[in-house]
Symmetry: C2
Subunit: 146 residues, 2 copies
DNA sequence: ATCATATAAATCGTGCGCGATATGGTCGCA
DNA sequence: TGCGACCATATCGCGCACGATTTATATGAT
């Protein structure tokens, strides 16, 4: 029987994804620094720009994050004056998030941000859309129960 | 002039990569738990399985990580008895990493690990190789100086 | 009405990841 | 010989991310 050759890091999809994620982080950082956001905070803001008034759990479902990650992150956004956190009147277990005017206004920086990312990626819009779908499909398959 | 439509999270390559990375982490976790490794620790071990005796800086170049990340991680691997950290005799600034027999033996788990990942990804080997190259090319382009 | 179960967030401890800085070693050049 | 520039690693503080647990609220069965 032939053994499979031991794969090197460069052949491993998981490492490509791991290192590409870090590379994105580094590209975003200087731009987000000027907004006073971290990258995960930016993703949470994206959720709320898309739909205001979501709960912590809904943001978690969207971003695939636990409340143990989100609660402190959202408190920091609240401390920055970008959103409010209030218990829902009809279900006191739930915390609803609402953008402040400052939080909403920050959305205006999005187009420029997107343009920078597109340029840094060195891809076309179509190429990005295509790769996005492939990677999202991989993610969704990995998330299936074993 | 028409504005670009504000993209949602699902259209963003950065989020696809971010969430796919977390999804990989979650797939690896139960398997790595049995080895007593974290995912970044596993990546460091991959480097050393490929070439023993590398320096901290070489591992950092390979994984795109800083010494501030690697030093504590490598100390934990040393504490587990998987490798040794020794200053180089000819250049005392440099720390060289050498696998112990236990660290080397752990490599035997690799093939099974790879097989599990392949299955969890729901892809063919060719499909994985193809996507790996696309994502690595993206990473390398993002790493170019602006 | 009561109590068991379930659910949503929050809290805690550990490890990763970075930027800024510190420490100590090397090398070239006066 | 000694000093200044550079270099490799280590340390520190902050924020993310998780699993395990806790707290508070809601729901359902009897």
């Amino acid at each position: 029987m032939m053994d499979m050759p031991a794969p090197s890091l460069d052949d491993m999809l998981c490492f490509a994804v791991y290192s590409a994620n870090h590379a994105f982080n580094r590209v975003y950082k200087p731009m987000l620094d000027r907004l006073g956001l971290t990258y995960p905070q930016f993703l949470a803001m994206m959720c709320l720009w898309q739909q205001d008034g979501q709960t912590v759990g809904q943001i978690g479902d969207r971003l695939f994050l636990e409340s143990s990650t989100l609660t402190p992150l959202l408190k920091r956004l609240e401390a920055q004056g970008l959103l409010t956190r209030r218990r829902d009147h009809t279900d006191e277990r739930v915390v609803r998030l609402h953008l402040t005017p400052a939080g909403l206004a920050m959305r205006d920086s999005l187009p420029e941000l997107q343009a920078c990312i597109l340029e840094a990626s060195g891809m076309t819009l179509e190429g990005m859309g295509d790769l996005t779908r492939q990677v999202a499909a991989l993610r969704d398959h990995l998330r299936l129960p074993a």
